[in-house]
Symmetry: C2
Subunit: 431 residues, 2 copies
């Protein structure tokens, strides 16, 4: 990890310190993804079979998980894991349900009622990665809000394993959230299939979920094509920790490492106003990383990461808001007092006993969050991500009389005569 | 307009009937926009001056509207127009304010509190077109929710007129909503400037507003680059009217025309279960279009538009949901009874006395709405469009004890050991 003293950096060095590891998608990746998408679009299931054979090494005739495979998954998953997922799903449901928006109506003028209705998005597609490891928790994070929104068509894609089956824990998680249709399909081909539809995979209006650079690029391309919306742009995972002198260096180090183990391009940042804390965390990271099975990945991520000494905690929050981290851990004595300073972040963890892993799995918040600075203008997945807001207005003859003149004046100023006449004509008849 | 009987169409003909006029962006447009963006990105204000001279025919040294130009605008705009905009802004404010989300907190387990905070997006850029005519109403529709959200930095770009000034009504509308910084800059160059920033125009985190195909393509390209988020993909405006036998053909025709006059690529659709109504509307359209100053534009739009006879109103709603119109007018005797059938639309207008123009200007709802079928998965602009949702969690030692085991089990199942240890370490210390 790099040790920096913020006050000694010029603007260029500060900017460099906050720059994420390379995010630019290689032209090669873009082209490869475009080719895969075109194949799926034109050749449908045949293309999916060929691509799956090539990349996943399995020949699949049917992509859809059968009832017997679901039953086998239920029999395979350890009871403790199933129970943990049930509990996690309950808390995720409780938190997400409490935040659901409501329709409303307002009389904006006598006889003019404006309303907002909420409707589930009709057809949604969920992607659950299984790269270095399957992520049943992601199935919960996507399936719960889809279920709460009431989306009538929900499909889930997850890569097949070498034996042609899907990860049992992912299947159990999917069923816990009411997802009935799961397809063994990964990568850009899964995104293309859910966007355009094939003989066996229905098309979706919106696609959700994290993934590797191919999945991410495929989501961008289908969104750009206008065929399906996506939840958010995605990038490597990241955490920023703000620690004061009273923080526990072992805890902070453990949090930095739990982010670093995600992948070699993950980024972790520590900001502290205490030089001794910075040194202590660095020593702890060294000690703990050696104990990790995934230490190679973690060490790569750490090499691009920063330990930054700041002059004050207020400076730390200004830097954090500029960086807009996916995860923000406040390892502070009075973290709640500082919450008002947080302007841009995906999810915030308060105090010594709230490791990021709680939010990743089971506190109740969503773990599908904006990365790469997208937290400046995007939010994590919530039930609202699975809903459309539709506005409605209704004017009586009196209502039209009350506001029609206003509409006519502005329409005329904009040179839109037919707009003006559509109002005037009614006002004449209604008068 | 084309007259069709839905029950007589095969699936291919139905699909063709609901296909929007060409939306594919020409490669030439894509390339031209990419070039403009690159110029603005690398050469900043110098590029903006050269491009503005070329496209708008004016040499501007300063793009920012000065205090004296604002004052001149106030003196120029007719009192009736100013008053209409004041009233419109009040109703837009009332409706949008009533729909603002709230933060909340839930104890998801004893000692575990999960929360959601709302924060304004820090830096937003608004685009107000002035192609065939300036659109002060769009300044209201974007400025009001930005102000309600409390965005600390709001800039607005609108194209300069031939004399180098901005449209006075747009300036007055901007100031009515608290927007202080307006730049005379249009097209793709305005989008590039607001996304990347230049010497004189500050960078934004999210860009809003409609525009021509260059503006729309520029928004897509900067969003794809990850430098700024955008409100939604945009396309030509459109309306779908569902009329029953009791509708007023003159009203329906006026509504179809007020959409058609927007541009030659606008699309209008009428669905009715009454053959006589269909014929009557067609005759009325012919009669009314001849009276319009913009009849050339309207006629072009009408040539790609459809009058469709359906067997039942239920069929009409199914077709409408499939099409997902930007504007949906329910020219029905009991429109509210049918509202539950609406699954995907931008904004809905109920009954005979609610012409679309009311929503365009002054009912209170927003007129920046999803087009081109995007209403299947996108919503119109609201205060939420200008806010970030940030989740927060806080566990006490007891809370960690309550749910830490759950997190550890799932982390282990996912092979993420550092996640598991970050929890275990704290549980040991806390115990």
């Amino acid at each position: 990890m790099n040790r920096l003293i913020w006050s000694q950096l010029d603007e260029a060095a500060r900017s460099a310190a906050l720059t994420r590891p390379v995010q630019t998608v290689a032209q090669q990746t873009r082209d490869a993804v475009a080719t895969l998408i075109a194949q799926v679009r034109t050749q449908g299931d045949a293309a999916l079979r060929a691509i799956t054979a090539r990349f996943d090494g399995v020949d699949l005739q049917d992509f859809e998980v059968s009832d017997s495979e679901f039953a086998a998954a239920e029999a395979t998953v350890p009871a403790a894991l199933r129970q943990a997922m049930v509990e996690a799903a309950e808390r995720i449901t409780r938190f997400h349900k409490a935040g659901m928006g409501q329709g409303y109506a307002v009389e904006t003028a006598p006889g003019v009622v404006c309303e907002r209705m909420l409707r589930p998005i009709g057809r949604v597609g969920l992607y659950v990665p299984a790269g270095s490891a399957p992520l049943p928790s992601t199935a919960l994070m996507l399936g719960v809000p889809a279920q709460l929104a009431g989306c009538p068509q929900v499909v889930l894609c997850t890569p097949p394993r070498a034996d042609g089956t899907a990860d049992p824990a992912v299947l159990v998680a999917a069923r816990l959230t009411g997802v009935q249709r799961v397809f063994k399909l990964g990568g850009a081909q899964a995104i293309a299939a859910m966007a355009y539809g094939t003989g066996s995979i229905p098309a979706s209006d919106k696609l959700f979920g994290p993934g590797n650079s191919f999945v991410t690029e495929a989501k961008q391309q289908v969104a750009q094509d206008g065929v399906a919306a996506i939840d958010m742009p995605a990038g490597p995972s990241e955490v920023l920790v703000i620690a004061d002198a009273g923080a526990n260096p072992a805890f902070v180090a453990a949090d930095l490492l739990s982010q670093a183990e995600h992948g070699p391009d993950s980024q972790v940042l520590l900001l502290t106003d205490d030089a001794a804390m910075l040194a202590a965390v660095e020593a702890e990271v060294e000690r703990q990383v050696a104990l990790l099975p995934r230490q190679d990945i973690a060490r790569q991520a750490l090499s691009a990461s920063q330990l930054i000494q700041v002059e004050s905690l207020a400076d730390a929050f200004a830097i954090s808001n500029r960086y807009a981290p996916e995860h923000l851990i406040l390892a502070l004595r009075e973290p709640r007092d500082w919450l008002g300073q947080v302007q841009a972040a995906g999810s915030v963890f308060l105090g010594d006993y709230t490791p990021e892993a709680l939010g990743d799995y089971c506190s109740g918040t969503n773990h599908v969050l904006p990365t790469a600075g997208a937290a400046r203008a995007y939010s994590g997945v919530s039930v609202a991500s699975f809903q459309n807001l539709i506005s409605v207005q209704s004017a009586s003859a009196a209502g039209l009389a009350a506001i029609g003149g206003c509409a006519r004046i502005i329409a005329s100023a904009e040179g839109l005569d037919a707009h003006e006449r559509a109002v005037a004509l009614r006002m004449e008849v209604a008068a």
